[in-house]
Symmetry: C2
Subunit: 309 residues, 2 copies
Amino acid sequence: MSGLAIGIDLGGTELRAALIGPDGTLRARRQTATDAKGGPQAVIAQMLALIAGLGTDGVQGIGIAAPGPLDPIAGICIAPPTLEGWRDVPLAALLAERTGLPTRLENDANAAALGEHRAGAGRGLAHLVYVTISTGIGGGVIEQHRLLHGRRGMAAEIGHMTLVADGPPCVCGGRGCWEALASGPALAQAAAQAIAGGAPTALRLPVTARDVAEAARSGDALALDLLRREARWLGLGFANLLHLYSPEAIIAGGGLSAALAMMLPEILATLHSAAMPAYHGAQVLPAALGPDAGLVGAACLILDHQDTP
Amino acid sequence: MSGLAIGIDLGGTELRAALIGPDGTLRARRQTATDAKGGPQAVIAQMLALIAGLGTDGVQGIGIAAPGPLDPIAGICIAPPTLEGWRDVPLAALLAERTGLPTRLENDANAAALGEHRAGAGRGLAHLVYVTISTGIGGGVIEQHRLLHGRRGMAAEIGHMTLVADGPPCVCGGRGCWEALASGPALAQAAAQAIAGGAPTALRLPVTARDVAEAARSGDALALDLLRREARWLGLGFANLLHLYSPEAIIAGGGLSAALAMMLPEILATLHSAAMPAYHGAQVLPAALGPDAGLVGAACLILDHQDTP
């Protein structure tokens, strides 16, 4: 099925749109700062302007990647925390009405999984798990070339699986979630505690996960130690993902994945000790599309005729 | 699609076969003690005798539920631990050759999930997770009315997700797996430790999970306490399953599920504290088909034309 689609990635900071070819390549792109305080009508007007700039000749439809929670079946943004005044906004229907084009909505991590599957590190794989490790940990699962959705499209909330019963509190209200142990802020917090505790290091407060990765690259002993700890949490979480979804590959994206190569030996060692041997053949790969994964994946909602869940 | 199928449930102790109607009901059944020491040829001869007893008029094919590890794509039993001399046996092909009927193979927990979906507690649900809590913890996931398979059909090895990093050792070689915390033997071991430690109770050594459930029914304080602990582990594992697969229902089978009603309040309390509110609408239900779930599900491999993974 050839044809073009427009992919839109609605973030709290940036609003991006691109014309995507049937092979998942970007033909043209537009972006602007999201009017996050302007409410849905202002942002929809921004989307229409970007779409007009791209043109709609040969375009089969529009796919939108947006922050959750959202309902991909009904095409409704439920309550995106980074967008003011968005509450149960039927975004897909509103945009379809204004453009006359079929419009589909998907959460951003699922869209990124689709993008990496179509045109990134997961090309050709029937089964993969995409993991984004950043301020939070999110993900999307491809099973037999399709998104795993579950009830209300809420499957693959992988950051909130418990890895340590009664562990540290998580933003979700639970305890010991993978996100609470291995997200960027969790790494930064571990670094801050070590620095405050007087560990010898070139790191200074305030400290971010990116600072830790950079110091590790320069050979800072504390930073290397912190990255080993991070790698163990990632390896343990990845082992769970293998047992639960049996992907051919785990594809790691998000800010912290920039340090993936440094962490990979420890990640794989943990994975191989925690996962049963039959799962050791699965790969751990860096994401290939960077911030474009969601944009490409959004277009795939149209190009691949992915079923509504 | 109407028609009949034969379901076979190959266990280490019992070999059972049934003629199953298009609605998933059992029309006739046969069973025998598995010749577990006789090797594959002896057991295949037993299967042929059971099939002959049932008759094959109007039968579209044969589905077999067997213990893992197995390859449902190739129809091969890889190394079932309860069957002597079984190593890479192409069971589906061998039975198809001898009967002239299409034959499909699936692991027993996945088959039970299919059975409960077709004719049991999960009838009509697009998304469900079947959990069997017994000597081990296993399961199967239905997504959009189909089995979740993953690479080599190995998805949904739910008993081996880590719930307690560096927790108690598990038979799989890992640590802190759900199975190591919440299986029947884990409950029995906790009971044995408490009895040996002198806790006041009517329970005596040696003790089984079933003993604990029975003592709890009689109001034994230690047994009630142990079941509350068991319920918390189950609730925590169920919360993970909700976040990961977003089923409409978790369906609990296996020996320990006989005590599900007693444990349900504590299971739900744990679930609601560990799972995000959007997931609270999912139900926890007792399995309806008991030991027939695998038999019915095996037939569904034929009746539902479930894709090979």
